[in-house]
Subunit: 436 residues, 2 copies
């Protein structure tokens, strides 16, 4: 899991390789194509989406190389196709929105250009990454906004696939979470790791006759982790738990965690109790099925830190962003599917976002990639499409995860005032097509 | 991705290792404990759950070994703890439900026994696997039931994390899906792979003047993949697409795929059209946002194969099974958290499921692991708890994926008749506690 190189070549749907084989046979494999990643709508009637996973996509494309063992498993392909894959390395161009950028329906998030053969087989891995990471970052950003500056710790690893947990932790950090419980994510992406204790820790300190000994559990935790640690106080009775915690730790205890019950009521009670015990600086950490709405509902309560698990790793009701990877251009000619209920705009596109002098965003304008930018009159604008890969090599100087995190925080405040509301509505910005 | 050994040791929450350190310091690390995996309820008011991921759990536990590089990333631990981890290998016992077994609220799905130290650090990886795989298998099984014997192809890789896609494909195959689009899953788990073609394939065969040439796309696909292939007919106009398909392929064409529109209406029209063209054996494959309800709604239509993507890899509204890993016993003494809204039964448990002479299941009875089975009177019964790991070694002769798939198909028919309904209701079987 900590290998820097792992082949991503089989994270692919079979039909991509059979299309490849058919295209090598009829010569269409070498036509120059453009594929575009975009969403037709935002899930759950949200007002904005957050692009996440771009850096992981570029790494996956770089590692999209077939080993002999992998080729041996592709027994449905002919020799010509296997030879093509044996020598495969993406040599095309990738442009797109930077990680941590906002997006809306029809935003051209990623544009992949090259031969049909080299572009078509990247579809699945590119979408897997962008769909999962963007879904989680989009949900997480709403939680960060709802928390109004209070830190959130991601602790949802146990509720999602073990590797998805690692990319989920990364996406939540991008969105502005403070830390993750996941150690692989901490090691792989240099994200702060955090944690408190489980109920099992308190239960472990049961006397031989079966009676609880919460004090022993708290004492052992403090002896090892120091007075700054966070004690879990709701294993038996919360009021007694808080009393015991301060008895054992003294009023300088770092924090207490409440993981059950009506968190608003309990936070108030516990704050009062801590204050009455002189523990004015002891933090209150709450967890237990928090989502953006529950976080917002606790805004007026004396909560210091939120712990969020299930809801964020499952995208809070939208576990996938629903992004698609569609061919938009063949040999310079725009193409688009014509079936009734799915509409696409042909041609490879770039986009700008216009804004007022105040900085408030107005709209996105998508225009043909490589052509002149549209006139925007009195408005200011920012280019959303940046080069990500050139001739198969990742462009140098792309933003780090920390920089993308800072970028997202900055662009969020450019949304019109209704954009950060949690309720369902239309996308707060629309995408206009210019010359496409 | 195809390595047979990859360390799973960092797929772990930080608090597990800080609890480990505290327990090594105060000596409680060596107390004998039992942890149990169970669900408090079934998500989305479903009537049964499907256990999946057990074989992956056992492999993850086997591969839970720390490399020096991993240990170097754990700079918050003391030397004593790092030494413990350097030599860590689980040496305890694991018992539980076999993969492909049904479960209900409070079913003791997995019981892990050993020292506190060796059990506590497995929490996250065990839950990640069981929660994701069981969520997907539970949703997929409902789809298989709804399909009433017609094959379903899993094609959702692009809508979930790239590694979650692989385990999702495995879980859907366990549930009774016929094949997956995912090549890594096919190679890793020996699952049949399948696929048709994308709209990009048809769009690629655009004439230089931009006009469509569907016939060229169909011809090239058939030339390479043979007459048994499935042609995607809805890129432009479905009626024309079907005409072109049969013109090019002749009436022996394997199938046509419809990926948009009102699938019921279209399937009927296309069946009629195919029959009128003499293509009586040409299959109709439908895809496009199918879930168990949409599959069921197409039961009366001339559909031959379903392709299912997003809904199954996201658990059809329940992306996680909500299973927890709770300490239930310390040094032979049952323990349980006492907070108001979360109730657990202490003690390590085994379970049997009773059934009538007809084979219909009646209830589950959970009883202390290792003690005598409860009396069941005139009923028959089956032991649900089987040994999975002994002294850290995987028990020999555990069922293969194919055997687990067959087991699930068999136990599904033992549910009371209302058990397979798709609508929301209570669990169809309840778990009774005997002597715990």
């Amino acid at each position: 899991m900590t290998d820097t190189y792992t082949s991503t070549a089989l994270l692919t749907d079979k039909y991509e390789l059979t299309m490849l084989q058919a295209s090598l046979a009829d010569g269409s494999a070498h036509r120059q194509c453009a594929f575009e990643v975009f969403g037709r709508r935002l899930p759950n009637e949200r007002r904005y989406g957050v692009v996440a996973g771009t850096a992981r996509v570029l790494e996956a494309v770089r590692n999209f190389r077939f080993t002999e063992e992998q080729l041996a498993s592709l027994d449905f392909l002919d020799e010509h196709t296997l030879d093509y894959l044996r020598n495969y390395k993406f040599t095309g161009q990738i442009d797109g929105y930077r990680e941590g950028e906002l997006y809306f329906p029809a935003s051209p998030i990623l544009v992949v250009r090259g031969t049909f053969a080299e572009c078509v087989i990247l579809e699945t891995v590119i979408l897997s990454i962008l769909n999962s990471d963007s879904a989680i970052a989009s949900a997480a950003t709403r939680m960060v906004t709802a928390a109004g500056g209070r830190p959130i710790i991601e602790m949802g690893s146990r509720r999602t696939n073990e590797e998805a947990a690692v990319s989920a932790a990364r996406a939540t950090y991008l969105a502005g979470f403070s830390a993750t419980s996941n150690l692989e994510a901490a090691a792989r992406y240099k994200i702060p790791a955090s944690g408190t204790a489980a109920h099992a820790w308190t239960l472990l300190h049961t006397n031989p006759d079966g009676t609880p000994n919460e004090a022993a559990a708290f004492k052992a935790q403090i002896d090892t982790l120091g007075i700054d640690t966070v004690l879990l106080v709701d294993t038996y009775d919360i009021t007694e738990g808080v009393n015991t915690a301060i008895e054992v730790a003294g009023p300088e205890l770092g924090g207490v965690r409440i993981d059950s019950g009506d968190l608003g009521v309990l936070a108030r009670q516990v704050r009062q109790q801590l204050d009455s015990l002189g523990a004015h600086n002891t933090n209150i950490v709450v967890s237990s099925d928090l989502d953006e709405f529950a976080i917002a509902a606790l805004r007026a309560e004396p909560v210091d830190v939120y712990g969020v698990g299930t809801s964020v790793v499952t995208g809070s009701g939208a576990p996938t962003a629903g992004l698609v990877y569609k061919m938009v251009e063949v040999d310079g000619v725009p193409v688009a599917k014509r079936s009734r209920d799915k509409h696409s705009h042909g041609g490879a596109k770039a986009a700008i976002r216009t804004c007022r002098r105040s900085g408030t965003a107005v709209e996105e304008i998508a225009y043909p990639l490589g052509s002149e930018k549209p006139e925007v009159g009195n408005l200011k604008h920012r280019e959303l499409t940046v080069p990500l890969m050139r001739d198969g090599e990742v462009v140098e100087g792309l933003p780090t995860l920390e920089e993308s995190r800072a970028h997202l925080a900055k662009v969020l405040v450019t949304l019109p005032w209704e954009g950060l509301a949690l309720s369902k509505d239309e996308p707060v910005i629309s995408v206009r097509f210019h010359g496409v």
